[in-house]
């Protein structure tokens, strides 16, 4: 008896602790329940690295965290998933485009000098590039150049369709039949860029030597420049680089992620010492937003490995609220159905099992809040399912108790034997379940992994509540003689004549 009361006290303390825990920390809701954006970033192996190791993943994460902080999104979280993925959650963010742009690029900044003897080819390519960009700008009223209101383009010849076709042929490109003009120009620009970059010499200075990045409006006031500050070594490199090409007509190329974003000439006045002072600016005709994004990327440093955005999910806040409403309704209706069923079929123990299940649900949610498990829509479905499965243990026990009663055992003895005999089947069932969870957790990805965690928590807790809570509560009730009636367990017709 004393032991029983000890268990009941323990269960009550646990219940109160769970309640307090839930009230203090609450549940962490997934983005599908509260609205927002979630981006999954895949770290790609590159160069000599064939497989992404955990240090590299951490290094990528660090850089991305700096960039996210630079973006100033509240409450964002960045988690590593598996061996080579990161998940970024942006609660409340309805337009993840900017974050995607800032996070998705490597931001490897390189300064290169044009190779000698390539001036003519470079000039031709750059002219073609400007023409093509002008056509694109005219087609895309929203994108960069027009908004920034370039200094009125010195007669920028439009690229006529015939000229475009000719240029494509000249560069040895073929485009699929019937592709749009925009696509053709994109193909052209990509090739022009590849050739421009090929005309540069080796990288003489990179973003590693940066100490600061900023932005400022350029002299015309229409476009933005990105300003750079180098460390001492970087400043020296920049000076010698500019000195080498000053006055030669060769260009200084600024290459970001393999894309030439600025080609600058260095005036002859720097012939003597190069551009000293450890500072430079990139005049790339940026819009205010573009300049800010580049600044954030450069400050955060370049990524040690490129990342690719493999998944973007955006959910509006009212959809999230709707999801909470429907899943709550589903959970409650399902649980009420189970409760009614248990009470109708098992009578007094059925009531006890409803109590035990409520405790199960409470403990489960408390563990979710403790770990913490982010509650998503599928997570709630898994939780509802786990309650249905947790009842199974109670059904197994009570059926066994009924059998013992039918075969003429006394009530207390039937209860004890029922629990003892049902134990092995409950235990085996839970162990096989836990085996699957372990395999799913270590081998599965993302969604599957989360599901395995919630299912394993549910299985462990249901083992505890079925064997401990149900039992102690039932034993406690049996200490009241008024409740010690077999008919509270079984219809009288099924009892052997002697016991009724």
């Amino acid at each position: 008896m004393a032991r029983q009361q000890g268990w009941v006290a323990f269960i009550l303390v646990l219940a109160i602790a769970s309640g307090v825990l839930l009230a203090t920390y609450g549940l962490q809701l997934g983005l599908d329940l509260r609205g927002g954006s979630q981006l999954t970033l895949q770290v790609m192996p590159a160069g000599a690295i064939l497989k992404v190791e955990s240090e590299q993943l951490e290094a990528v994460k660090e850089v991305l965290e700096r960039r996210i902080n630079g973006l100033g999104v509240a409450e964002s979280t960045l988690q590593t998933i598996g061996t080579d993925q990161l998940i970024l959650q942006l609660p409340g963010e309805q337009n993840p485009g900017r974050a995607a742009k800032v996070l998705g690029s490597t931001a490897l900044l390189e300064f290169k000098a044009q190779k000698p003897g390539t001036e003519k080819e470079m000039q031709g390519l750059l002219q073609l590039k400007r023409q093509a960009e002008a056509v694109l700008a005219a087609k895309q009223p929203k994108t960069t150049s027009t908004e920034s209101g370039l200094p009125p383009p010195p007669p920028k010849p439009q690229l006529a369709p015939e000229d475009l076709a000719k240029s494509l042929r000249a560069l040895g490109l073929s485009v699929p039949e019937g592709s749009s003009e925009t696509d053709q120009i994109e193909v052209l620009l990509a090739e022009v860029n590849r050739r421009v970059v090929a005309l540069y010499g080796p990288t003489l200075l990179s973003g590693k030597d940066l100490t600061s990045a900023g932005r400022q409006q350029n002299a015309t006031g229409n476009a933005w420049d990105v300003t750079l500050g180098f460390n001492r070594e970087g400043g020296e490199k920049f000076a010698s680089l500019t000195q080498a090409i000053a006055g030669t007509g060769r260009l200084l190329g600024i290459v970001l992620d393999g894309r030439s974003i600025s080609e600058a000439s260095v005036g002859a006045e720097f012939k003597a010492a190069g551009i000293a002072g450890g500072a430079a600016s990139i005049t790339g005709n940026f819009t205010a937003d573009e300049a800010r994004d580049l600044e954030v990327q450069l400050r955060g440093g370049s990524l040690p490995l490129p990342v690719k955005i493999v998944e973007v999910r955006t959910i509006g806040p009212s959809l999230g609220a709707e999801n909470i409403r429907t899943s709550l309704l589903a959970a409650l209706s399902g649980l009420v159905l189970v409760g009614v069923f248990m009470v109708l079929v098992y009578r007094l123990p059925g009531v006890v099992s409803v109590l035990a299940l409520s405790l199960y649900a409470l403990y489960n949610l408390a563990v979710y809040s403790l770990i913490p498990v982010t509650l998503t829509l599928p997570g709630i479905a898994g939780f509802i399912l786990s309650v249905g499965m947790a009842v199974d243990a109670n059904v197994l026990i009570f059926e066994r108790v009924k059998e013992e009663l039918r075969s003429g055992n006394t009530l207390i003895r039937s209860i004890d034997t029922g629990f003892a005999r049902a134990f092995s089947s409950i235990f085996d069932g839970h162990i096989t379940g836990l085996i699957s969870c372990t395999a799913l957790f270590f081998l599965g990805t993302g969604l599957v992994k989360g599901f395995a965690v919630t299912l394993a928590i549910g299985l462990l807790l249901s083992l505890f509540t079925a064997l401990t809570c149900t039992r102690s509560l039932l034993r406690l009730l049996m200490s009241y003689p008024a409740l010690r009636r077999p008919t509270y367990f079984l219809p009288a017709a099924q009892l052997p004549a002697s016991a009724a």
Binding site: G97, P317, L377, D428, A439
Partner: protein, 330 residues
């Protein structure tokens, strides 16, 4: 062959406690029913595979094929103005989206458009778009659709590599967990028990897949990553359900050691019949709650689980115990 039980002396036969039925009397029926269900499932999977529009055993959804799915809700006063699919498709064809450097612009002419809730909401299935392109596309739709409720928009973009990784991960983890379960059951019971538990599991998973193959063929229902999760759950539940009956068979083998296995099995199945049905029922009840009230995103998840758990309950009563004496004899 499948011989009927050896004649047993009358007094012992009377001692066999049977309340409802002897499962062995109905075993041929059970086997035939399961064989037909498995055959139909295989046929559904094969037809799906041969269907040029699907070309895989199940119709893969966005999670596995990759792409962008956009759902928007229109802001309408009372009734929403008529909106035809062709109107929308034409609009999509005319759009030009902000380009992504180094990539050709996506071809939107093959997009699928669905008008739901009497024109209130729209579901678009598109090739994979960047985050910027998705937002731009929604803005560009407004001339046709009228104002949209931004708070009710959902955009999902999934790269094609993600789906195949998910699929691989789930299959590998499933196989490993099967192997581990087989080892556990062989250790606690014996190899035949383990083999039959896995056979039942394969039976349950096959029929669940088969139903979705037919749904894909006839109704265009697609499977998503939640379907993979439901299969894993069904597999786990199937084994648990079977183990509960095994446990009773093991007990009867001790209690009724003099009887042939077939009678031990009959007694065990009969004694556990109510609880087998009740445990399945208590698991199904919350799922019906999910089915009726859980909203569209969980509807097919609930369907898959309900089918799988019902079939799992069937196979653990009608299949594993009835095959046990047949296989153990050899």
């Amino acid at each position: 062959m499948l011989s009927s039980p050896a004649p047993v002396p009358a007094p012992i036969l009377a001692a066999i406690p049977i309340r409802y039925m002897r499962i062995s009397r109905h075993r041929r029926l059970a086997w035939i029913a399961s064989a037909i269900a498995c055959g139909l499932s295989l046929l559904g999977l094969a037809l799906c595979w041969l269907n040029p529009a699907i070309a895989s055993p199940l119709k893969p959804g966005l999670d596995f094929t990759g792409g962008t799915q956009i759902q928007v809700e229109r802001r309408c006063q009372n009734a929403c103005a008529e909106l035809s699919v062709s109107q929308l498709q034409q609009r999509l064809g005319d759009l030009s989206l902000p380009p992504v450097p180094g990539e050709t612009s996506p071809n939107l002419s093959s997009s699928a458009v669905q008008v739901l809730d009497g024109g209130r909401s729209l579901l678009l299935r598109l090739p994979a778009l960047s985050a910027d392109q998705s937002t731009a596309l929604i803005e560009e739709l407004t001339p046709v659709t009228g104002p949209l409720k931004t708070s009710a928009t959902s955009i999902n973009t999934i790269g094609p590599t993600l789906g195949s990784r998910l699929l691989q991960g789930s299959i590998v983890s499933l196989l490993v967990s099967f192997a581990a379960i087989a080892v556990y059951i062989s250790f606690m019971y014996n190899g035949v028990f383990a083999f039959l538990a896995l056979l039942c599991l394969a039976h349950d998973v096959l029929i669940t897949c088969g139903v979705f193959a037919w749904l894909g063929l006839l109704q265009g229902i697609e499977v998503d990553s939640l379907f993979a999760v439901s299969l894993i759950t069904v597999a786990g539940y199937s084994v648990t359900d079977t183990v509960v009956i095994y446990d009773r068979i093991r007990e009867q083998r001790k209690l009724l050691a003099d009887l042939p296995l077939i009678d031990q099995v009959d007694v065990a199945v009969d004694a556990t019949l109510t609880r087998s049905l009740y445990t399945s029922l208590t698991t199904l009840l919350p799922l019906f709650g999910l089915l009726f009230f859980g909203g569209s995103s969980l509807f097919w998840f609930a369907v898959a689980l309900i089918i799988g758990i019902a079939v799992g309950s069937w196979s653990s009563i009608g299949l594993a115990p009835t095959l046990l004496p047949v296989l153990s004899r050899r």
